[in-house]
Every structure is written in structure tokens, then in C-alpha cells.
């Protein structure tokens, strides 16, 4: 089974302060650590596990700049067979439609049995790229996948619903799945492992090679436009408890004692 995994590099903002750029169009990226989108990492691991079980090959692709090749190389070190980069310069990357056009045009040039990507990306959190790409390719999809089972040209998956409930869905191949975090435990990538794939060639594709014009994928062709960024509204603010850890602990125990 040949699998394509679509990945993206994002800043880690879960545990970091995010500072708005003064032009209000982006964030200060200097002090942030960048890496493979968490959901995509689970997708890559799942693809490699499927390959190990069912045979076939795993390819990874990103739409990005040369700086993004490190996440592709990381996937090669994990066990992906091939990595491709689509040059992002003509793309309006804030529009998930532009991204999906690029990914679907790339997928059309190959014949993958299965395409995987993360449920969403940790930066913009649209959760659109997967189902949009599947829609453009005319192949079935399902989102929020928490387990995969392949049998006789079909694939059975569970998808996460709300409140601890899941549902099982069967899809005909080729299909596209968006992968939820927690589906597996992604393997560790060592520096040695990355060193081993250092010389592996990563083909770079240009949009026109994929039959895409700058009008379609550039800002003028964008379906969804990013207008501005701002700080979240202040809203209700917590009453802050300050002091030494000891003093804070005492205050917390007091509050708890008053209620429980």
C-alpha cells in the first residue's frame, strides 16, 4: 500500500508566549521553536506502521521553503521512503484552499492508495486541508481518525466523536484520513538517524509543474483571506494570587477548604 502523508512546519505555541508583530499581520517568530505539526507527526508514524504491516511505500510532502526540509528529513529518518517539497513561494499559504490545490495536484501525479494528514495544524487550526484535498481529488475521506484497519481493498477506521464516543466507518481506497493525536506513540528520531538520511535527495516541485497557475494559488485566487491578527479580548480575568510558592500554597488550601 502506497501512502502519502502531507505535513507542515509550525511554531510551538502551546507553552510559549506569542507576540503580535507590529503590522498586525503575523507573529514574532524569532523566539519560537518550529517543528513538524503535532497531528502530522502522528500521521507519519501511523503511515510507517501501516507500511511495516502491509508493505508498500510512504512518501511525505510539504509545501514550504528550503527551511522546511528539516521536517521532511526527520520523516525520512522515521522510516518514510521518499520526501517531496512543493516550493511555497507562489502559494498564498494563509488560505487552506491554496494549500489543498497544491496537495491534490501533487497527489494526482502519483497513485497513492491512502493519503494522510493531521486533523488540523497547531497554528491556524482550520481542520480544512484534509477534507478539502479529498474533495478536490474526489476520493472518500474521514476526519479525526483514532485507529486504522486495512482489509481487502477497504479500510476501516474509528473516528473520535464527543464525550468519549467513537464511531467506526469503512472507506473504499483510495481514501484520505485526517489523524487525531494519541492514535499511536510516534517513534523517537535520533541525531544519528537524521544523519543517515542527510544525503537523500528531496525533489523540489514548482507549482507550474503541477499544472497550477500563480493566479489560482496566489493571493488573488485565495478563497479565504487573512485580514488581521489581534490579541484576544481581555474578558473576565482571574484574580491573581501572588507571593512565594509557600504563600500561594497556603492561599490555595484556604480556598479549597472553604469549598470542599
Amino acid at each position: 500500500m502506497d501512502i502519502l502523508v502531507c505535513i507542515k512546519k509550525v511554531p510551538d505555541t502551546a507553552d510559549a508566549e506569542v507576540i503580535l508583530r507590529s503590522d498586525g499581520k503575523g507573529i514574532e517568530e524569532e523566539d519560537l521553536a518550529f517543528g513538524i505539526n503535532e497531528w502530522d507527526n502522528y500521521a507519519v508514524e501511523e503511515a510507517i506502521r501501516l507500511k511495516e504491516k502491509e508493505g508498500g511505500k510512504v512518501a511525505v510532502v510539504t509545501i514550504g521553503t528550503g527551511d522546511d526540509e528539516d521536517i521532511l528529513r526527520r520523516c525520512l529518518a522515521m522510516g518514510a521512503d521518499d520526501a517531496y517539497r512543493i516550493d511555497s513561494s507562489p502559494f498564498y499559504m494563509d488560505d487552506p484552499y491554496s494549500v489543498a490545490k497544491g496537495l491534490s495536484a501533487f497527489a494526482k501525479k502519483h497513485s497513492f492508495d491512502l493519503i494522510m494528514t493531521g486533523v488540523m495544524a497547531g497554528d491556524m487550526s482550520y481542520a480544512m486541508t484534509g477534507p478539502l484535498t479529498a474533495g478536490m481529488l474526489g476520493i472518500p475521506h474521514t476526519t479525526l481518525v483514532t485507529s486504522i484497519d486495512v482489509k481487502d481493498g477497504n479500510i476501516s477506521v474509528t473516528r473520535e466523536l464527543e464525550g468519549g464516543l467513537e464511531e467506526s466507518v469503512r472507506l473504499e481506497l483510495p481514501a484520505l484520513l485526517t489523524i487525531q493525536t494519541g492514535i499511536n506513540e510516534p517513534r523517537y528520531v535520533s541525531i544519528m538517524g537524521i544523519r543517515k538520511v542527510r544525503s537523500k535527495e528531496i525533489p523540489v516541485l514548482r507549482a507550474e509543474e503541477l499544472g497550477l497557475s500563480a493566479e489560482e494559488i496566489g493571493e488573488q485566487g485565495a478563497v479565504l483571506k487573512l485580514e488581521s491578527l489581534e490579541r484576544p479580548p481581555e474578558g473576565k480575568e482571574a484574580e491573581m494570587i501572588s507571593g512565594s510558592p509557600d504563600e500561594i500554597a497556603e492561599k490555595i488550601l484556604e480556598i479549597v477548604k472553604g469549598v470542599v
Binding site: T13, P140, V169, L226, E230, K236, E237, A238, E239
Partner: protein, 325 residues
């Protein structure tokens, strides 16, 4: 006249509360921009759902077909593709940003010419431009995005942002939409539901929850948190990253995909406050949050906030309790 449509979400014979939240937004948009708010129920048997919704919205439209018993985007889209053509230019279609809306709306967008915006918290019409606010970068930034809604637009709305509206004084009307499914060769099949196993604790019944998140950093810190919880007579719960890493069982996860809890005290440590997590703590008596990042979104929902390293505080708490006994 252009309208704003709410697609009802239902599962296992029950209507989701999120549908009422979206009705509240639809009515707000209706008033502001002169759009007629309407609900659409797609189901194998739509009557009961429609009756329920007619208490809240002036017009309920139904699409009934045996294929619509359990949700599959293929079956829904087969009806909705021709339906959106009937809705008229400028109409807005709302779905909740849940497993249902996330599966359906971007796909429907790719299969029609209507643009889609997902996970929105606010909507505004500026001529034919539909503008939305969205929470990005882990809730630390808000973005404004827009699409051309002259033909119409599809939107998924973040849950928990809008409150269910009051009932109408005069019940709404219920009517069949009169649309047939486009023929499709189906490539997906619904197999069944799977309930998560019960597990060793029921965090929904706990009166005091000590909840840990990404800030716990390492599996070897889990016993430390468990020990503190026990000393404080609290039940240990957590946010998603801890369960994803298999450090604690799914039954301890607070949030939309885990459990919804209503403890008297919720003490969150090292949890940044993703909305999926916060949505699971709506009923807490006192909410105390401990986080190193003073800008963590959790401080916007907590009653008390502490900007401190969670491990330092855990040590201090343990010491204090130890001394009292």
C-alpha cells in the same frame, strides 16, 4: 431573501445542544443583516427533532430519507449539494465545529462553489464579504479572515461560544424542504458506535479535581501529581496531551472528547486552556489555574490564577499538607 440556515446535529436519536447555540447565532445575524433564520433537519425520521427546534426558530425545514439515520458526509452532501443551490445568493449555512461539522462542511465546500470558514467565534457581514473571528496559536491570538459570500457561505461555529436562545412565544413552522438526493456511488459506510470503556475512576462525580496538562512534561512526574492529589483528597484528571502520551487513561480526560466535569474545585496545573478542554469544565464551583505563561488562555476562564512553576507549587502544597497532619 437570503437566509441563514442552521444544520441540526443529532446522534443516536438526540439533538445536540450545539444546534441551539447555532440557532442563537443565526437569530443574531438575522436581526443584524435582515436574513431569515431557518433550521434544517436531515434525518431518517425528522419530526421529533423538528418539533423540538420549532420552539426556538421561526422556520424548520426537514429532509427525510432512510440513508440519513446515521451521519455520513456522503449522504448529507448528496442532499445538501442541491439544497444549497435552492438557498439563494448570500445565504449562510451554519454547522457546529464538532466531529459532525468538521467532517461535512469543508467537503461540501469542495463539492460546491461555496467558500467555508471553520471554527469561528464571531461573524460579520460587510457587503458580500463574510468576515469571521477565529482563535489561533493555541488561543493566544485572534485572527480576522474573510470570504466572498455573494453566492453563499458555509461556516462551522466553535461550540460553547453562544448560549441557547429563549423559546419563541409562537412556535415556528415545520415543512419538508422538497429536495432529492443526487445519485452517488457510495464509497463510505457507517459501521457502528463504540463507547469508551468506563475505566477505574469516574471524574464526573468528583467534587475536587486536581488536573494536570502538558506542563507535567514527563511520565515520571505523574506519580508525584497522583501523590499530591491523594494527599489533597482530590481525584487526578488531565487534559488531552497527557492522554495522548498514554500517561493517564482516557477516563481521566477533561474536555469535549473526554468527560465534562462539574467539581466544586477545579485546580488546573500546567494546562494552557485550549477551548476543547475548557468546554469540559463548564460547571466548576471554584476554578484555580496554575501556569508559567501569564498570557495562557486559561487565566481568562479561571477564578483564581497563579503564575508559577507547577512543580514548585506542588512541592509547597505537599509540604504544607504534610505539616498539618
Amino acid at each position: 431573501m437570503a437566509s441563514v440556515y442552521v444544520i441540526a446535529e443529532h446522534r443516536k436519536g438526540e439533538l445536540g445542544d450545539v444546534t441551539l447555540e447555532n440557532i442563537a447565532l443565526a437569530k443574531e445575524l438575522g436581526q443584524k443583516y435582515g436574513l431569515a433564520p431557518k433550521a434544517i433537519v436531515l434525518a431518517s425520521s425528522a419530526r421529533a427533532f423538528a418539533e423540538e427546534l420549532a420552539d426556538y426558530i421561526p422556520e424548520v425545514l426537514t429532509i427525510e430519507d432512510p440513508s440519513l439515520e446515521n451521519f455520513l458526509y456522503e449522504d448529507y452532501a448528496a442532499f445538501l449539494r442541491p439544497a444549497v443551490d435552492m438557498f439563494g445568493p448570500g445565504s449562510i449555512v451554519l454547522c457546529p465545529h464538532t466531529a459532525f461539522g468538521m467532517e461535512l462542511m469543508p467537503r461540501l465546500s469542495a463539492e460546491t462553489s461555496l467558500p467555508c470558514i471553520t471554527d469561528v467565534t464571531e461573524l460579520e457581514l460587510d457587503g458580500t464579504r463574510l468576515r469571521a473571528k477565529r482563535s489561533i496559536y493555541n488561543g493566544k491570538i485572534v485572527s480576522s479572515v474573510s470570504v466572498d459570500a455573494s453566492k453563499g457561505a458555509l461556516v462551522t461555529v466553535r461550540t460553547g461560544v453562544y448560549q441557547a436562545p429563549d423559546k419563541l412565544s409562537a412556535r415556528g413552522t415545520i415543512e419538508g424542504l422538497g429536495v432529492s438526493a443526487e445519485p452517488v456511488r457510495k464509497k463510505t459506510e457507517f459501521i457502528g458506535y463504540r463507547e469508551a470503556p468506563a475505566g477505574e475512576v469516574d471524574i464526573t462525580q468528583a467534587s475536587f479535581l486536581l488536573s494536570i496538562g502538558r506542563g507535567i512534561k514527563d511520565e515520571e512526574n505523574i506519580p508525584r501529581a497522583a501523590r499530591l492529589a491523594e494527599k489533597m483528597h482530590a481525584v487526578l484528571s488531565c487534559s488531552r496531551p497527557v492522554v495522548d502520551k498514554k500517561w493517564l487513561g482516557k477516563e481521566r480526560q477533561v474536555g469535549t472528547s473526554g468527560r465534562t466535569v462539574k467539581p466544586k474545585v477545579y485546580l488546573a496545573m500546567g494546562i494552557s486552556g485550549a477551548f476543547q478542554h475548557i468546554a469540559g469544565v463548564k460547571g466548576a464551583g471554584v476554578f484555580i489555574a496554575v501556569n508559567r505563561d501569564p498570557k495562557a488562555p486559561i487565566f481568562r476562564v479561571a477564578d483564581y490564577g497563579v503564575v508559577e512553576d507547577m512543580f514548585k507549587l506542588m512541592d509547597a502544597l505537599e509540604e504544607k499538607i504534610g505539616g498539618e497532619r
